[in-house]
C-alpha cells in the first residue's frame, strides 16, 4: 500500500536550453534610405542596432532576435528607414519557445492587451480568493501545494474482510502522476519520440502510445499507457487507456466504459480544441463529468482530456471542466522546434531539457493559479465549476443587472 501522505513531488531542475532557430519575436529591417547616422544605435537600449565592426561608417544588419518591439528606433529614425514587424501568428509558439528555453513563468508588464473574453477556454475565468476566505495559504506556501494526481481504477467503496481492507484493491490499476499532464505519442522521427520518452521518464509522467511503440521501446514501458480503441474490448487490461473521440452525446458511452471496468478514458478532441462535431470540446467534457456524477460512478475511473491544450492556462481550465488530467502533443513538438530540426541534429540531452523546462514552467503556472485560487491540492479543482466563472453566466448576469436588451446570436458568447 502506498503511504497515505506523499511528500511534495520534486521536479527535475530546469536549465537553460536556448532555442535553435532563435525565433525572433520581431523582424527588424533597415532599408536603403538609411543614412548611417547612428541615431538608432543610441535609442535602442537592447543593442539591436550597432555599427559594422569592420567599417564603422556603416550600420550592421540589425540583430533582430534582441528586439523587444518598443518601436523607438522606428519612430526616431530621421529617414524612416526602419521597419519592425512582429512575426505573425507566433503568439502561442513564442510562449512555448520561451518556456522551453528557460523553464520560467512568462512575466510581463503593462497589463493585458488581448481579447476581452471569447470562445472556449477564453471564456472561462478562474476564481480567486479574496480577503475573506479562511483556507488561504499565501503564495509563499506554494511548496505545500500539491499537483499530484492519481488516475486509474478506484474501488467504489472499501471492502473489509477479516478486519483488513480486501486484497482485490491491489488489482485495481492506478498510477500517480506528479502533475496532471500526460504526453501523447507524436508521429515524428525516432529521435523525437525517444526524446519525449526520456523526458517522460525523468519527469515521472506517462506517454500514451500505440501497441507498436510499446513493443518498440521496452525500456520505457514503466512510463507508457497503451491506447486502445473503444471497440477493441481490451479496455480493462492493465496499463491501457481507452480512446473516445469527443462529440456530442458520448455521455452514455463513457458511462458504460466506467461501469464495465475501464480504468482510464481518453477523451480526444481535434487539434483546435473542438469536438468532432465542431463544438467546444470542454463543454462536452463538462457534460460527461456531470453525467457520471449524476450516475454516481465518477470516482471509479479517470478521464484524460486532449486536443487543443496549447497553453499552461488550459490545464487548470480543463480540470475544472471535469478532466482528471490532460494530454498534450503539439506543445512538445513546438518545444523541440520539430519543424526546424528535421535533420538528425536533435541532441537528446537538449531536447529532454527543453521538455523538462516546458513542464516545469507549466507546473509553476499551475501553482500560481492554485495559489491565487486558495487551493492546496490540484485534485480539488477537478469538476469544481464553482471555482471558475463562465462568460455565459457573467454575461447574463451583467445584462440582467443593467437591464440591457440584447439580440443574441449563437456565436457561443
Amino acid at each position: 500500500m502506498k503511504p497515505f501522505h506523499q511528500p511534495p513531488h520534486q521536479m527535475p531542475h530546469s536549465a537553460d536550453a536556448p532555442s535553435k532557430s532563435m525565433a525572433s519575436q520581431f523582424a527588424v529591417r533597415r532599408g536603403d534610405e538609411c543614412a548611417n547616422c547612428g541615431l538608432c544605435k543610441r535609442v535602442c537600449i537592447y543593442g539591436v542596432h550597432e555599427r559594422l565592426e569592420e567599417d564603422p561608417r556603416f550600420m550592421a544588419p540589425p540583430k533582430q532576435e534582441m528586439c523587444r518591439g518598443c518601436l523607438r528606433c522606428v519612430m526616431e529614425c530621421p529617414r524612416n528607414a526602419i521597419t519592425v514587424v512582429p512575426n505573425a501568428d507566433s503568439d502561442v509558439e513564442n510562449i512555448i519557445l520561451f518556456e522551453a528555453s528557460t523553464g520560467k513563468v512568462p512575466v510581463s508588464g503593462a497589463g493585458y492587451g488581448g481579447r476581452f473574453g471569447g470562445y472556449g477556454f477564453d471564456g472561462i475565468w478562474l476564481d480567486m480568493s479574496e480577503i475573506v476566505r479562511p483556507t488561504r495559504d499565501g503564495i509563499h506556501g506554494r511548496e505545500y501545494i500539491s499537483t499530484v494526481v492519481e488516475i486509474g481504477r478506484f474501488p467504489p467503496y472499501l471492502k473489509f474482510g477479516d478486519g483488513e481492507v480486501e486484497k482485490s484493491m491491489e488489482e485495481l490499476f492506478t498510477i500517480e502522476v506528479p502533475f496532471p499532464i500526460l504526453f501523447r505519442e507524436v508521429s515524428a522521427m525516432d529521435s523525437v519520440v525517444e526524446c519525449i520518452l526520456e523526458a517522460t521518464s525523468k519527469l515521472g509522467t506517462y506517454m500514451i502510445v500505440s501497441e507498436d511503440t510499446y513493443d518498440a521501446y521496452p525500456s520505457y514501458r514503466d512510463n507508457m499507457l497503451v491506447e486502445v480503441d473503444v471497440e477493441s474490448g481490451m479496455m480493462d487490461e492493465q496499463r491501457t487507456i481507452t480512446r473516445v473521440e469527443v462529440r456530442s452525446g458520448i455521455e452514455e458511452l463513457v458511462y458504460k466504459l466506467f461501469k464495465n471496468g475501464c480504468a482510464i478514458v481518453h477523451l480526444t478532441a481535434r487539434g483546435d480544441g473542438r469536438s468532432y462535431d465542431g463544438k467546444f470540446a470542454g463543454d462536452i467534457v463538462e457534460s460527461v463529468h456531470d453525467y457520471l456524477m449524476s450516475k454516481g460512478v465518477r470516482e471509479v475511473a479517470s478521464i484524460v482530456f486532449s486536443g487543443g491544450i496549447l497553453k499552461a492556462e488550459h490545464v487548470p481550465k480543463s480540470l475544472i471542466l471535469g478532466a482528471d488530467a490532460v494530454a498534450i502533443d503539439k506543445p512538445l513538438l513546438i518545444a523541440l522546434e520539430y519543424a526546424d530540426c528535421l535533420s538528425s541534429d536533435l541532441s537528446i540531452d537538449w531536447g529532454v531539457q527543453r521538455i523538462i523546462n516546458l513542464m516545469c514552467s507549466w507546473r509553476d503556472q499551475l501553482l500560481e493559479v492554485l495559489g491565487a485560487m486558495g487551493m492546496r491540492d490540484v485534485r480539488r479543482i477537478r469538476g469544481e465549476k464553482g471555482r471558475a466563472m463562465f462568460m455565459r453566466d457573467l454575461e447574463n448576469e451583467f445584462i440582467q443587472n443593467c437591464g440591457f436588451e440584447v439580440h443574441e446570436n449563437d456565436d457561443g458568447t
Binding site: I45, V84, Y112, S129, I131, V132, G138, Q365, E368
Partner: protein
C-alpha cells in the same frame, strides 16, 4: 455650488518631437516632386515647407491633418496619404494604436483630435461593446458638474475631487521618481489624487501630500506612522487586478540601491509582497486594519483595494461594514507592473462585469449612498470612465493612461532588465532622465483637461447635469449584441 468659479489648470502645449509627428496616416512624397511649392501654398496647416535656401520641399508630419488638399493639387501626383505602418505593430486589441496616438495628442495639446476613433478599442467585449445613447436634447446649462465626493459617510472630513478619477498606485521602483512627481503635480493642479503604491513615500512628494494617497500593501514596504499621518486618504491594497491572489512582485533588476533604501531592503533582490495580508483572514481582521490606521490618524478616509472574484459583492459589503469609506475594485485587465501572463487574463472577472454586480448589491443592502465605489483595471480613456460610472461606479482610478500620455506604447518591457526603454517605468538612473518633470506634469495636466472637456460633452449629450447623476444610469448605455 462654488466650484463653478474654479479656475482650472492651464493647458500649455507640451510637445514631443517624435510622438507629435505620429499619426494614423502618413503623407508620402515620391521622387516625382519638382519642388514647385504648390503644396506649401494650398496647405492651411503649413505642413509643407521649403526651407530657406533649399530647392526641396519637405513635410512636417506633426502639422498635417490629412485634408488631402495638397494631394489633389500637386501637378506631379507626387503626394499620397497612406496608412501608417506603425498602426500594424503598435498597441494591442485593448489599447489600439488609435487610442495610443489619441492619448499622445491629448497630452501634447490638451484637446482631443476629432479625426481619430478613440471611443472604443477592439477587444470585442466590455467597454468596447458599450456605447452611450446620445440624445438630441442636450443639457443647455453652461455648467456641468464633474466633481465627486470621496467620503459619503456621516463622519470624517469631506473630500471632493474636481474630476471623477484619480491616479492608481504605482510604486517607486515600478516607475521612476520623475514620473511619480509629475503625477503628483498634475493631481494637485486638478484637485484630485495620486497614490504612492507600495514602494515608500519619496521625500519629493511631501509638498503634494494633500493629493497623495498612502498605500499600505501586504509587503508593508516603506509604510510608517509618518507616511500615514501625512495622508488624507489611506488605501489598503488587498489584491490587485493584474495578478489577483498573487501579491506584488518587483524583479531584482529594478531594485536599485535607491529603491532598496526607500523600501528598506537589500538591493538587486527580487521583492515579493505576499498575498494576502497575513494579518487579514476575515473581514473582522480588515476592521482591525481600519481601526489601526484611524488610531494613528482619526480623520483618515480609508479605501480598500480589492480584486474581482465571484463574490466581489460580498467583499464590498464587508469592506463597508468594516468602516472603510471607499471600496476600490480592480479588474484584471489593467495594471502596470510585472505580472505572470497566466494571471492577467485568467483569474478574476473583468471589471465591466463586476461594477454593476457590486453597485446593485450595495443598493439592495441599502448602503450604496454611504460608500464610494471606485473602479479600476482596464480604464483607458474618459469614455471608459464615463461608462464605468454609468454602470454604477462613483469614479475611476487610472494608471496606464497616464503612462501612455508620457509616451508609453505598451510594449510590455517595463519589468525586465533596466526597465522601460523610454524611462517611464524604470528606476535606471540614466533612463529615468528621459522624462523631464515639468514636461511630464504638463502632459498629464493636458490629458486631464482634454478628458474633462470630453466628459462634460458626454454628460451634456446624454442629458444629465452632473457626473453624480450619471451613476448607475445603464439606461443611457447601449450594449452591442453578442458578437465575438
Amino acid at each position: 455650488m462654488t466650484t463653478e468659479l474654479k479656475i482650472y489648470p492651464k493647458v500649455k502645449i507640451a510637445p514631443h518631437s517624435i510622438l507629435d509627428s505620429i499619426n494614423t496616416k502618413v503623407i508620402v512624397r515620391n521622387e516625382n516632386c519638382i519642388a514647385c511649392g504648390t503644396c506649401e501654398s494650398v496647405c492651411i496647416n503649413k505642413a509643407h515647407t521649403r526651407p530657406r535656401g533649399y530647392n526641396t520641399v519637405i513635410t512636417l508630419p506633426e502639422k498635417c491633418e490629412f485634408c488631402g488638399k495638397c494631394v489633389e493639387n500637386c501637378p506631379m501626383n507626387a503626394l499620397s496619404i497612406e496608412r501608417n505602418m506603425l498602426m500594424d505593430v503598435m498597441g494591442d486589441s485593448r489599447w489600439t494604436p488609435e487610442l495610443i496616438i489619441s492619448t499622445w495628442k491629448q497630452a501634447s495639446t490638451g484637446s482631443s483630435p476629432t479625426s481619430i476613433e478613440c471611443e472604443v478599442g477592439r477587444s470585442g467585449g466590455g467597454f468596447d461593446r458599450l456605447h452611450f445613447k446620445f440624445r438630441d436634447r442636450a443639457v443647455k446649462k453652461e455648467y456641468v458638474d464633474t466633481s465627486i465626493e470621496l467620503n459619503k459617510r456621516e463622519s470624517g472630513p469631506r473630500i471632493r475631487i474636481d474630476v471623477p478619477w484619480y491616479g492608481g498606485g504605482m510604486s517607486y521602483g515600478s516607475i521612476s521618481k520623475n514620473v511619480m512627481l509629475a503625477r503628483a503635480i498634475a493631481a494637485k493642479e486638478w484637485n484630485t489624487f495620486t497614490c504612492t503604491g507600495e514602494g515608500g513615500y519619496p521625500e519629493e512628494l511631501v509638498p503634494y501630500k494633500d493629493h497623495v494617497i498612502t498605500q499600505i500593501a501586504t509587503g508593508l514596504f516603506g509604510v510608517s506612522e509618518e507616511t500615514i499621518k501625512r495622508a488624507r486618504i489611506v488605501e489598503f491594497k488587498y489584491a490587485q487586478g493584474a495578478k489577483p491572489g498573487l501579491g506584488g512582485h518587483l524583479l531584482a533588476d529594478k531594485v536599485t540601491p535607491d529603491v532598496a533604501k526607500m523600501r528598506e531592503v537589500v538591493p538587486y533582490r527580487s521583492l515579493f509582497s505576499p498575498f494576502p495580508f497575513h494579518s487579514v483572514y476575515s473581514i473582522e481582521d480588515h476592521k482591525k486594519h481600519v481601526d489601526w490606521v484611524r488610531a494613528i490618524k482619526p480623520e483618515l478616509v480609508v479605501s480598500a483595494k480589492v480584486s474581482t472574484p465571484s463574490d466581489v459583492d460580498m467583499v464590498a459589503i464587508g469592506v463597508y461594514y468594516a468602516g472603510a469609506n471607499i471600496v476600490h475594485i480592480d479588474g484584471g485587465y489593467g495594471g502596470t507592473g510585472a505580472a505572470p501572463n497566466i494571471a492577467k487574463k485568467n483569474i478574476a472577472m473583468p471589471l465591466e462585469y463586476a461594477i454593476p454586480k457590486v453597485h446593485r448589491f450595495l443598493e439592495h443592502e441599502g448602503v450604496r449612498d454611504e460608500i464610494v465605489l471606485i473602479a479600476s483595471g482596464g480604464i483607458r480613456s474618459v469614455y471608459d470612465i464615463a461608462k464605468a460610472i454609468a454602470l454604477g461606479a462613483d469614479g475611476a482610478v487610472i494608471g496606464t493612461a497616464e503612462l501612455v500620455a508620457l509616451g508609453c506604447r505598451r510594449c510590455g518591457n517595463c519589468e525586465s532588465g533596466r526597465g522601460c526603454p523610454l524611462g517611464i517605468a524604470t528606476t535606471d538612473p540614466e533612463l529615468s532622465c528621459e522624462i523631464d518633470v515639468d514636461w511630464a506634469s504638463q502632459r498629464l495636466i493636458n490629458l486631464f483637461a482634454s478628458w474633462k472637456e470630453q466628459l462634460v460633452e458626454i454628460l451634456r449629450k446624454v442629458g444629465v447635469e452632473s457626473v453624480e447623476e450619471l451613476r448607475g444610469r445603464t439606461d443611457l448605455l447601449r450594449y452591442e449584441g453578442a458578437k465575438i
